[in-house]
C-alpha cells in the first residue's frame, strides 16, 4: 500500500511577519518557505532553530517544529537535535550577532560537519537592541557603538567555515532570486551547510550609513569576499552518520565486578597506610590491587589518590584505609603506617612523619630512609626482592611488602588478586612475589 501525501502549498502559518518595512528578514523567510515547499518534507520532520535578535522571531511564522533558544547558541541546540534524530531536517536561523557570540559553536559545527543548515541573516549590526556593531560590521561603518566609524575588520564567515570543512557554503543577498534554490541545496547537502545572506537593516544600518542594495555589492567587492557557491564537499563524512557508523554494540564495562571472599583477615581495627612515591611508579594501581586483596580477605578497603595536575611527573600518593567495618568515612587524619618510595613521595609524607606514633612503622627505600620521625623506620631493600624491580613495579611491590611486613591480611589474597589480573596476571604475580620477598627480608 502506498500513502499519498499531499504536498503543502506553504510552510508559513497565517501570522504576518513583524519586521520593519524594507527589512531583509521577510524575503529571506519567504525564500526559506519556498525551499521547504520545494523539498516537500513533513513539517513535523523539520525543526527551525532560532536564537536572539529580530531573526530570532522567525520560527513563529512557520508550521514546522521550532526551537527558540539563547543568543548565539542555536547551533548547539541544532547539533543536539541532529545527533539524537539524524532523520530530521534542522535549519538554524541566526543573525550576525549570534554568529559573533556563538563563534566557537560555528567553527566547531563546521569542523564536525554536522548535518544542519545555518542561515545567517547578516545585516551588519544588532537590529533589535539599538543598532550596535557586530562581528560583520564593515570597517569604517557607523553604528551606535562605533560613533567614529568601525575600527574592526569584519569576520569572513564563509571563508572561516569553508576552511574548517563545511560541506556547503554559499554567500549572497536577500535580493538574490536563486535564494530558495540555494537554501534547498544547503538542506540537501549532507554535511554542515551555511548560507551567509547579506541584507538591509532599515531601522539602523541603512540610516546610519546611507547603505543600499548597491552598497552591499560594493562592500563585497571592496573586501574581496567570494560570493555564490563557495564550497561543496559532499565527500566529507557527516558527523551524526559517522558517529553511528563508528559505534559498535556491546555490553557496558561498568561492572559490577564482584570480588570473592576467599581469605580471612585478622585485622580488628581501622588501619591506614600512606604509600608515597612518584608518577610512573604505579602507586595507585599497586595500592588498588592491595585493596582488592583486602576485600578478598573480608575487609573493607578504600583508597584516595593524590597527584599533581601534571601526569608523568611529580608525586603520586595513595592512602589505603582498611577496616573490618564499612568505611563510611574514607579519609584519614594521620596514617598508621607510611611507605616512602621517592623524594617526591617524601614531600607529601613529610607533614605526617613527625606526628606518627612511636610504635608506627615507616617502610622506606634505602635512598629515602633518613626520615624525621619518631616512628620505627624499616628499610625495604630492592636487592632482597629476588628480581630486578623496574621503577614501574615499585608501587605494587612496596604495597605487597607492606602487607607482608605489617601482617594486614593474608598474603595469599594478594597472590590471588594478581592472578585475577587477566592478561597482566603473570606480570602482576611476579611483582607481588618480589614485593612479598622484600617485605619478608625486612622483618
Amino acid at each position: 500500500m502506498t500513502t499519498t501525501i499531499t504536498p503543502l502549498a506553504t510552510y508559513r502559518n497565517d501570522l504576518p511577519y513583524p519586521f520593519c518595512p524594507g527589512c531583509g528578514h521577510s524575503p529571506i523567510l519567504d525564500a526559506l518557505n519556498a525551499a521547504l515547499v520545494r523539498r516537500g518534507t513533513d513539517p513535523a520532520k523539520v525543526v527551525i532553530v532560532s536564537d536572539i535578535g529580530c531573526s530570532g522571531l522567525s520560527d513563529q511564522y512557520f508550521v514546522t517544529s521550532a526551537f527558540h533558544g539563547l543568543h548565539g547558541r542555536s547551533i548547539t541546540y541544532a547539533t543536539g537535535i541532529k545527533l539524537a534524530r539524524p532523520d530530521l531536517d534542522v535549519v538554524v536561523v541566526m543573525g550576525d550577532g549570534g554568529t559573533g557570540i556563538g563563534g566557537a559553536h560555528l567553527l566547531n559545527a563546521a569542523r564536525r560537519n554536522i548535518g544542519i543548515t545555518v542561515l545567517v541573516f547578516n545585516n551588519f549590526n544588532f537590529g533589535m537592541t539599538g543598532g550596535q556593531h557586530s562581528t560583520t560590521t564593515p570597517a569604517g561603518a557607523f553604528t551606535s557603538t562605533t560613533p567614529t566609524g568601525n575600527l574592526e575588520r569584519p569576520l569572513d564567515i564563509c571563508a572561516t567555515v569553508a576552511v574548517n570543512g563545511a560541506g556547503y557554503v554559499w554567500r549572497g543577498t536577500s535580493f538574490d532570486e536563486d535564494l530558495p534554490e540555494r537554501i534547498a541545496e544547503g538542506m540537501d547537502a549532507r554535511g554542515f551547510a551555511l548560507l551567509d545572506i547579506w541584507e538591509l537593516c532599515t531601522a539602523y544600518f541603512v540610516r546610519a550609513n546611507k547603505f543600499t542594495r548597491r552598497a552591499i555589492q560594493t562592500t563585497l567587492d571592496d573586501l574581496g569576499y567570494a560570493s555564490g557557491v563557495i564550497q561543496r564537499r559532499p565527500e566529507l563524512p557527516e558527523y551524526a552518520a559517522a558517529y553511528r557508523a563508528a559505534s559498535r554494540p556491546g555490553r557496558p564495562a561498568l561492572g559490577p565486578f564482584p570480588i570473592p571472599v576467599t581469605q580471612a583477615a585478622s585485622l580488628d581495627r581501622r588501619f591506614s597506610l600512606l604509600v608515597a612515591g612518584s608518577a610512573g611508579g604505579r602507586v595507585r594501581s599497586g595500592v588498588r590491587l592491595a585493596a582488592q586483596a583486602a576485600i578478598r580477605s573480608g575487609l573493607y578497603a578504600a583508597q584516595a589518590d593524590d597527584y599533581p595536575i601534571t601526569v608523568r611527573t611529580g608525586h603520586s600518593v595513595s592512602t589505603l584505609v582498611l577496616s573490618p567495618e564499612p568505611l563510611d568515612f574514607a579519609g584519614m587524619d594521620l596514617p598508621d603506617s607510611v611507605v616512602v618510595l621517592s623524594d617526591d613521595g617524601l614531600g607529601k609524607a613529610r607533614p605526617y612523619l613527625p606526628r606518627l606514633d612511636p610504635v608506627a612503622t615507616v617502610l622506606a627505600l634505602p635512598e629515602v630512609a633518613d626520615l624525621p620521625t619518631p616512628a620505627r623506620v624499616v628499610v625495604l631493600d630492592p636487592a632482597s626482592a629476588g628480581t630486578r624491580l623496574a621503577k614501574a613495579d615499585l608501587g605494587l611491590a612496596a604495597a605487597a611488602a607492606a602487607v607482608e611486613f605489617l601482617g594486614l591480611f593474608p598474603t595469599a589474597a594478594l597472590i590471588e588478586a594478581a592472578a585475577d589480573g587477566g592478561r597482566y596476571a603473570e606480570e602482576l604475580g611476579k611483582v607481588v612475589a618480589a614485593g612479598l620477598a622484600m617485605g619478608a627480608a625486612a622483618r
Binding site: 520532520k45 508550521v63 521550532a66 527558540h68 547558541r73 537535535i81 557496558p252 573493607y300 578504600a302
Partner: protein, 376 residues
C-alpha cells in the same frame, strides 16, 4: 555442621562509575560534556559506553555547547546527562535558565571542587550548594540531590532522571571530588535498580506547554513524532508563542515555581537516624555525611546519644523532615565543606534554635573526630 553463610559479594569502585551505571539504568542515551577535573571520569565513561548501547556521547567545544546539545537532544526525545565541576557550571548558567523556562528534563552532575575560579581542581569542596540553587537569572527553583555514598550515587542518579522527567526541569546531582574519585568497598546487592517510569502521553498537539491545574506539569512532546512541537525560552503561552500578556506571563512564572513547590512530598528524601534524648542533631549531606555516620557509630559505642539527619534532597529544602528531626534537641550542628551555606537554610527553618556550623575549606574532609568534638 551447616556451612557458614557466604559473605555478601562486594566490589571496589567509585562514585563516578556508580553515576554512569545509574544513568544507563535510567535509560540515559545522550551525554555531552567538556573535560574538567574531577568530573572527567564521567565524560570518559560515557564516551566509551553510550555508543555501545545505541546512545550518543559528545565532547562539546565548551560547557555552553555541551549543555546546549543536551537540551536540543532532550527535545528530540533523548534522556540526557551532563557533568561538570564549579567552573564549568558557571558556563552552564544561561542554559540552565533555558531548561527551567523551556521545561527541559535534564540531569546535571556537579562534582564539586574547592574554591572560586580554578580553585583546587583536585581538592574536595561543597561550595556550590547555593550556586546550584540560584545558578541562573530569574531566581526560579530547581531540584538538587546530594549522594552521600557510592550506592547513593547510583540510586540518586536514577532518581534524578525520574524527577527530571516527572517535573520537566533540570535536576542537579551535587557530588564532590572525594565521593566521585575515592575508591571504596560496596556490596553488589546495593545496586538494585529502581523502576523507570514510562513517559506520560504527550501534551495536546499544538499546545506543548498545556498542563492540568491538578498536576501542573505539561507532559513532554518531543520532535520527530507525527506532530510538530514548538519550544521556547521566552515568556510564552501554552502554544509556545512569545507573549507579554501580563496574566499569561504571571501564570507561567508562578507555574515554574509551583510545579516543584507543590510536589515536595515527591521530591524530599532524607535519612533520619534519630536517638531519643540526644542533645545534638547533626544535619549533613554529601561526602560529609559519611564522617557523620562514622561519628554516630563511635558515639553510640561510647554510650553517647547523637542524632543525624542526612539530606539527600537539598533543593527544595526538606523542611518537614528538618523540623521533625530538630524537635527537642539543644543544638543543631551543620558540618559543611564551605562557610555555612546550608546552615542558612537550617537557621531559617529553626528560628530560636541553636544552630552551629562546622566548616572546613582547606581541601581536607571533615573528620568523625571533629564531628564528635563539635557535638559535645
Amino acid at each position: 555442621m551447616a556451612p557458614a553463610p557466604s559473605p555478601p559479594l562486594r566490589e571496589y569502585t567509585d562514585g563516578s562509575t556508580a553515576i554512569v551505571r545509574g544513568a544507563l539504568d535510567a535509560g540515559c542515551n545522550f551525554f555531552a560534556g567538556y573535560p574538567i577535573t574531577p568530573a572527567s571520569p564521567i565524560l570518559m565513561m560515557m564516551m566509551r559506553e553510550l555508543p555501545r548501547v545505541g546512545g550518543v556521547a559528545v565532547q562539546g567545544e565548551d560547557e555552553i555547547a555541551s549543555i546546549g546539545m543536551c537540551i536540543g537532544a532532550v527535545m528530540a526525545g533523548a534522556r540526557a546527562l551532563t557533568a561538570t565541576s564549579g567552573p564549568g557550571l558557571s558556563l552552564y548558567s544561561e542554559n540552565l535558565g533555558l531548561a527551567v523556562m523551556g521545561e527541559v528534563p535534564l540531569v546535571v552532575v556537579d562534582v564539586q571542587r574547592l574554591g572560586p575560579a580554578t580553585g583546587g581542581a583536585t581538592t574536595v569542596g561543597q561550595g556550590d550548594v547555593q550556586f546550584v540553587r540560584w545558578g541562573t537569572s530569574g531566581g526560579y527553583p530547581i531540584i538538587a540531590l546530594a549522594p552521600s555514598s557510592i550506592p547513593d550515587c547510583y540510586h540518586l542518579t536514577m532518581r534524578a532522571f525520574d524527577l527530571a522527567e516527572r517535573f520537566r526541569c533540570p535536576v542537579f546531582l551535587l557530588t564532590d571530588k572525594e565521593l566521585n574519585m575515592t575508591m571504596n568497598t560496596v556490596a553488589v546487592a546495593d545496586y538494585a535498580p529502581a523502576e523507570v517510569r514510562p513517559r506520560p502521553a504527550p501534551a495536546a498537539p499544538g499546545a506543548p506547554y498545556r498542563y492540568t491545574p491538578a498536576d501542573r506539569v505539561p507532559p513532554l512532546r518531543h520532535y520527530g513524532g507525527d506532530e510538530t512541537v514548538r519550544f521556547t525560552g521566552s515568556s510564552h503561552d501554552e502554544h509556545a508563542f512569545i507573549t507579554k500578556h501580563p496574566a499569561t506571563v504571571d501564570a507561567l512564572n508562578r507555574h515554574l515555581a509551583a510545579k516543584i513547590d507543590e510536589h515536595r512530598d515527591e521530591i524530599d528524601l532524607t535519612e533520619a537516624d534519630l536517638e531519643p534524648g540526644a542533645a545534638t542533631l547533626v544535619v549533613s549531606y554529601g561526602v560529609t555525611a559519611g564522617a557523620v555516620r562514622e561519628a554516630v557509630r563511635r558515639a553510640r559505642r561510647e554510650g553517647r546519644r547523637l542524632s543525624s539527619l542526612v539530606l539527600k534532597t537539598l533543593w527544595p529544602v526538606p523542611e518537614d523532615a528538618l523540623r521533625v528531626a530538630a524537635a527537642g534537641v539543644k543544638q543543631v550542628l551543620v558540618p559543611e565543606l564551605n562557610l555555612g551555606q546550608y546552615r542558612l537554610e537550617v537557621e531559617r527553618l529553626l528560628p530560636g534554635s541553636r544552630v552551629v556550623g562546622l566548616n572546613r575549606i582547606d581541601g581536607e574532609m571533615i573528620t568523625p573526630e571533629q564531628v564528635l568534638a563539635a557535638a559535645r
